[in-house]
Symmetry: C2
Subunit: 253 residues, 2 copies
């Protein structure tokens, strides 16, 4: 299984602290990593089939404070598909003049939907296949980019379909919102005023967010397992879909 991390904020924020926490879990999840940063409508995608512990690309991400309001990261332990660049999450496609970024934790059995649209997998993972199917179905459901609420409604209908084939914890973002769907393991957290201190769960590293933020800042973090101690992480329920906009979370259904 893999580890996911997503960040959504109302002001561009760096994720060096959270990514450092995620990367320590790459001892076990050694089959590559990837992280996508939205900046306005553009995306920077860093992917490497090397472990996030040793990759020079991961080292850059840990040290270069890229500020973004929407981030999706993934460290991989291969279940389906070889350890190759084309199988490294997150995956990116364009739809309606917007980039869409997707990462998946889990394993889908016999999910082989008919892909008759404009989205085809490049690699051979179940995850990219599910992403292409999601993009195809979104493209069928809406003629142009809908509101976040409309998208959430459509996704709430679509996401249970691959989820019936196995474990489907996933993050999807388009630079307007971050959607998170849980089958088994996913946790979320909102950081807002008054900001406190947090301590990385896996590493001897603390940060005082009060010293680094303004009172109006608001940041939501989603992760497979809580990344910090001393903060109030909430576990998703099985089948739960949440959408994060401007650092604030809302559930669906």
């Amino acid at each position: 299984m893999c580890q996911l991390m997503g960040m959504n904020a109302n002001t561009p924020t760096d994720v060096m602290f959270s990514f450092a926490g995620l990367a320590t879990r790459a001892t076990e999840h050694k089959d590559g990593f990837g992280i996508a940063f939205f900046e306005d409508k553009g995306v920077r995608l860093f992917v490497d089939p090397e472990s996030a512990l040793h990759s020079p690309v991961a080292d850059l991400v840990k040290r270069y404070p890229i500020k973004s309001s929407h981030v999706i990261a993934h460290i991989r332990k291969a279940t389906q598909g070889q350890v190759r660049l084309q199988n490294t999450h997150p995956f990116v496609r364009e739809l309606w003049g917007r980039y869409w970024v997707f990462a998946h934790n889990g394993d889908l059995k016999d999910f082989n939907p008919r892909l008759h649209g404009s989205f085809r997998p490049v690699g051979d993972t179940d995850s990219e296949r599910a992403f292409c199917w999601l993009m195809q179905e979104l493209a069928k459901a809406h003629a142009s980019v809908p509101t976040v609420d409309e998208l959430t409604h459509t996704l709430a209908e679509l996401l249970p379909q691959p989820a019936r084939h196995g474990t489907f914890n996933c993050l999807l973002g388009n630079g307007q919102a971050l959607w998170a769907h849980c089958s088994t393991h996913l946790h979320w957290l909102e950081r807002k005023h008054p900001f406190g201190a947090a301590h990385l769960a896996d590493e001897d590293l603390s940060v005082d967010f009060g010293a680094l933020t303004s009172p109006g800042d608001r940041v939501a973090i989603v992760a497979t397992q809580p990344l910090t101690r001393g903060e109030d992480w909430t576990a998703f329920g099985a089948g739960e879909l949440r959408v994060f906009v401007g650092g604030a979370s809302s559930g669906y259904g």
Copy 2:
């Protein structure tokens, strides 16, 4: 105007030397840079709206020997579209389960083709618009990924159409081949046995390829202006299309 660099080789090769040469030209071409590396069917895309002279991402690319058989790089001097991440070349789209990478040097006036297919620009450059149109027309011309020869034939019909609207020097790659089309300025070079030494045109840096290569290696480089002294660069003619496969070049038409 911008500067383009492409590399196509019969064995994975790093482009640190050539990219260092390109990056020195970022004094003038300061509005961002990007470089895409194919590894098998996967792509690593590094983009930064910062100058390649100062960007930590460019610094990584100059120091991390990423080996690839297909590389497309671009340093930008903005003519159309703001200096933003979504306007930074190269652009990437997926078609037929393959990634396609495109970078453009030049300026198109009034090229506003109807985009009725599945490819829409995310940013607001003439370049991405031309790329989306090319992808749309390729998708219409072939039902699935054709041979390189068939693609070259189709591209030879398509590329003159945007080129009628201005300057259209461009590089297109899909991990199987690199296509280069020239309106005004583009040069190419084949490096093969016996390998000699080369000296960067803009910087006090030399490399002896003989010490770094095997006799069977073959590498083609395409660049807006020759990157080195002491090597035999050939200028493209106006309207010329060349395709590079396995480090060998062939002209079309």
